[in-house]
Symmetry: D2
Subunit: 346 residues, 4 copies
């Protein structure tokens, strides 16, 4: 089958590899009908994640059709349309029992990382009963593809960790795909104001306004702290969502947050940040980090099914799997191409 | 009347000053029967809080007897024994309505800071209905004196912010009066293990064992991270309480916390700390800061009244108000004198 | 001044009475610009609340302009436009400190009940700092009038007590003003489906559909249990809101609720209901009752101010205060006149 | 093997039956080393649960040693000492994912109910990875036997559902094994007072005092409402735990609860109760029901392991499995024999 394979830093190829097989009675083989490229794939290609071995198929966001199941899979059967959680849980370790599937002692984030991933025609999914979710017939692949990773990421690590509530002022720092998702998902709680800040991109700030933001700030052109304080009588935002992953953006979040406010850190960080405890110690703030656990997938599916959430607009580009190298090029230069998310169709 | 007055960095005197008077109909004048010295008083004397004006009477922890009340005070009357919240709330601003009295728009921490404090024979307490709490007859001053500040501080900013729960492993970093209080108060929730860490003091670690700790670590002699990991199968502590206030102790807390764990920051910080987001971003941690709001005073009073909490052992030294300079000397050299808290009796 | 006065069961009159005066330094006198009639006023007139003394001015929902303030009122001044909480809290008793103003030891629901109410040209409001809220200039009286009582009632006792969450199925039993409000306010949390049930009124069910309901059921014509089960794969509703106040409607709620679901009881009950514990004991349900505390007024004001909530459509009829008897007639026969809420303008 | 088999209402026998076999690759066979009799077994014998088929082995509380495992069991192996959850979850249905294992779509309470139970030499346990918990070496069977059912029942349905908090007044209605457990487990949260009420048994009230109660009331001799009100300044209990299961005891709970308080219903009810909404509608109360989900087993194990919880005193009688008929006789006449829990040792 065709697949995008990682061969080491800077080196990926679209190539032919053997089709995966059932290895455990709890496995399923899924025929991929849509997969996407994630910022994390770019991190792998930069060599930032040395645990990824050359020869690994990339990708961890996908929907497809069940092709084959192991003898002990009970909740899905061949022919079922499913979405695949980007996180693989066993369902019974101490972490899975408390909905921290990302810290599963037998799984966690392994697809396209420690085992072969989804940018291929087929993928093997361990613990299929726990990690596959049936897709309602009336929904198309592009309606649900983002529920595999970026929507639960923005929801769990951003919106829920920042405890967005009706009437709140919400500040979202970073207007990439995660920032767009966080905006859209904050809206579910009817905050009184959503302010989205991006360092450079007017396109992304405008997209955020379409996704529900009330105010957009390009922070290289306008001081975001000054602006947020003006909009909040000098008090700051009740809920702040960090959606970039660099020290500067985290530190901006701590300047924007109101006394008693919460910061949800969604970004993937490569460096430490400075925490200004000399100011924050008496500011009654909560800072939360989280690797997505995808425990909110059932809720997100209901929201899309009922029409409360329409994430299709996050998809700006789609390619055939055979055009994967071109797709990577677009996604790696997202700003240039006004790209948010890029899909691959095997 | 006699009072301890601040005259500028390094300069305090026990001297005679006029007795306070009712200024607003919501004020009360309280005759102090016991007051204490707090670490914050030492900060003021170092000049760390330039907003404190020379001529201010120090002190914000006290119990006493109501001497006189303004025309609109309804819940206490002359002769009542009361404890005085170290934080002064108005009761009706937006922050007071959500129990963040420390951020009250008309008060907050003002006693011994922005208005005259409690290290004196009498003190004027604004919004007396909101800030005075009657002391049950059967309790002595030393039973309740710490409910004015350090117990709610350790409880709200430490135990509640770190969400200590039955069965948890709790790590307390710092075994001064706040660390001792946090130990004692964590115990209320029946954690399976309380580990207390102090950099130098064997005396303080031993006191913590008396106050309910299961394990004590002098971290200049034994690696606390290694020890805590040994005691927790390499997972770390569910709840970590920072009770020192320097970057090093905060950073230790972030090394001790388990995935999914919580850090309650109690220390008063003068410098920023490094937040290792490159490790913590995917560790599902919660970090909370708070200036004490004293909203738990009614609960703490019930716990002392019912004998569930016995904080008297925190009081290691008592002096007459006239010996205040000696008391300050002892408290400033707490390690040398094996001192925890020091009381002044007018 | 003109006022609607209660003289005993079945006996009310629009008459002239003395203008109220400041009695305590914390009082304010407010010139009413809009007030309404509440279902509770009808209860009083039926004689259901014998504690209401003949001679009492009726009414507890009103907005107006501050006319005069006591010497200790600090947060409002003559000329300020304000909304008056239907519940009067002192702000410092043990119940007020935990946001249960309805159980205030010095107040609670007293306006138009134990002291003179708002269906008059002027009203005296005790503890004005705590019970008056300034109205932003850009909002009209009809934008905010319902924030005095029915919106916080539907929100606190209904939506928050039933813990409505994104993706939930919500059932609202009763489509009167409270049921309409509960529908509108549930919507703030983006449930996947809101089902509104009224026993007789097609008009009210249609209004509910306009206020955000997805499905309307007239339960005298269609079995509501059967219909809700059909709509939820036989599982029932996650959140159920009781908005009638009779045993039959409460018992319906317990039939509609899903395992693990929550029931928020908003209705004012005159009789006991049967609780089918022989079925519910193992159903993991939560049932909550509450008299409105109005602690959510600041949030509701922000939601109206930001345009997230538009409650004006609840107002179906408006009269001059001089037409109060006619207004009472309309409101007492709400079904006949397709009335929801009725305003009086002094 | 020997087993206690149900043959219809009033008819049970100790008899020989075939040893169970692995039926699914996720099953385990456990050799029972200790099992107990539960009040529910008596209900079955009365014929109250017609779904139990004649020929079923009784019992759902047991510890033992793994004898054999299916090919897909990964977390336990033959020879491991384990405790068996009384509730059988699959681990991946929508209810199991939210810790409501009792409502598992493939399991729930099935042991000794819908499939053969534990009052035997061996038992087959489905989904062994999910439903077996290893017992630390240093703990004896009698230390952990109650963690299989009555401790999580009293904890989840009683203590957690009634939200017992430090400083609270707790009332426990019923001093049988569940009431004793609820007392012991409430103590973990340091309430200021625990009041235990039993209708007749002085023995049980005295046992409750040993298990941590502060006040015991025999309600056939002393009015419990009057007494609780005297002990709480007329306000009632913050947290009330119903541990009987009859309308009278539930209704007593609603009379004892303070405004703003919570009732956790643990009892198994056969009849409806009256809910006095005409009083409770404005009392801000929360009533919760729950069938035990056993999701707290890991926490309870840690508490016993660390010595914070010592439930051995609940075991008043122990018999060999061959004496099962005598054991049933004692347990059925618990009051006469001062029995709490009765163990069977195969």
């Amino acid at each position: 089958m065709r697949a995008v394979v990682y061969y080491g830093p800077g080196d990926k190829k679209l190539t032919d590899v053997p089709k995966p097989k059932i290895e455990e009675p709890t496995d399923a083989i899924v025929k991929i009908t849509m997969t996407t490229i994630c910022g994390t794939d770019l991190h792998i290609l930069k060599g930032d994640l040395p645990e990824v071995k050359p020869g690994t198929i990339l990708g961890h966001e996908a929907v497809g059709i069940v092709e084959e199941v192991g003898t002990h899979v009970k909740s899905v059967k061949p022919g079922d349309r499913v979405l695949i959680s980007c996180i693989t849980g066993c369902g019974y370790c101490s972490y899975c029992r408390k909905q921290m599937y990302s810290h599963c002692s037998r799984g966690g984030w392994i697809l396209g990382h420690l085992i072969n991933g989804t940018q291929a025609e087929y993928v093997r999914v361990p613990y299929a009963d726990f990690n596959l979710y049936k897709i309602p017939d009336e929904l198309r692949d592009e309606d649900v593809i983002f529920i595999t990773d970026i929507l639960p990421t923005a929801y769990e690590c951003g919106v829920l960790n920042a405890e967005v509530k009706p009437g709140d002022v919400v500040a979202v720092v970073g207007a990439g795909p995660i920032g767009q998702s966080a905006t859209m998902l904050s809206k579910l709680y009817s905050p009184s104001k959503i302010i989205v800040i991006d360092k450079y991109s007017k396109f992304r700030v405008e997209m955020a306004l379409k996704h529900g933001a009330d105010v957009g700030i390009v922070s290289s052109e306008e001081d975001p702290v000054k602006k947020v304080m003006e909009l909040t009588d000098g008090e700051g935002a009740d809920a702040v969502i960090e959606a970039v992953g660099i020290p500067e953006s985290f530190e901006l979040c701590t300047q924007l947050v109101k006394a008693g406010g919460r910061i949800g850190v969604v970004g993937v960080f490569g460096k430490p940040a400075t925490l200004h405890l000399e100011k924050l110690w008496c500011h009654n703030v909560t800072i939360r980090t989280r690797l997505v656990d995808t425990y909110t997938i059932p809720t997100l599916l209901k929201l899309v099914e009922s029409g409360r959430l329409n994430p299709r607009t996050l998809l700006t580009h789609r390619f055939k799997l055979d055009e994967a190298m071109k797709a990577y090029d677009i996604f790696s230069n997202a700003a240039k191409y006004n790209a948010l998310k890029v899909a691959l169709i095997p």
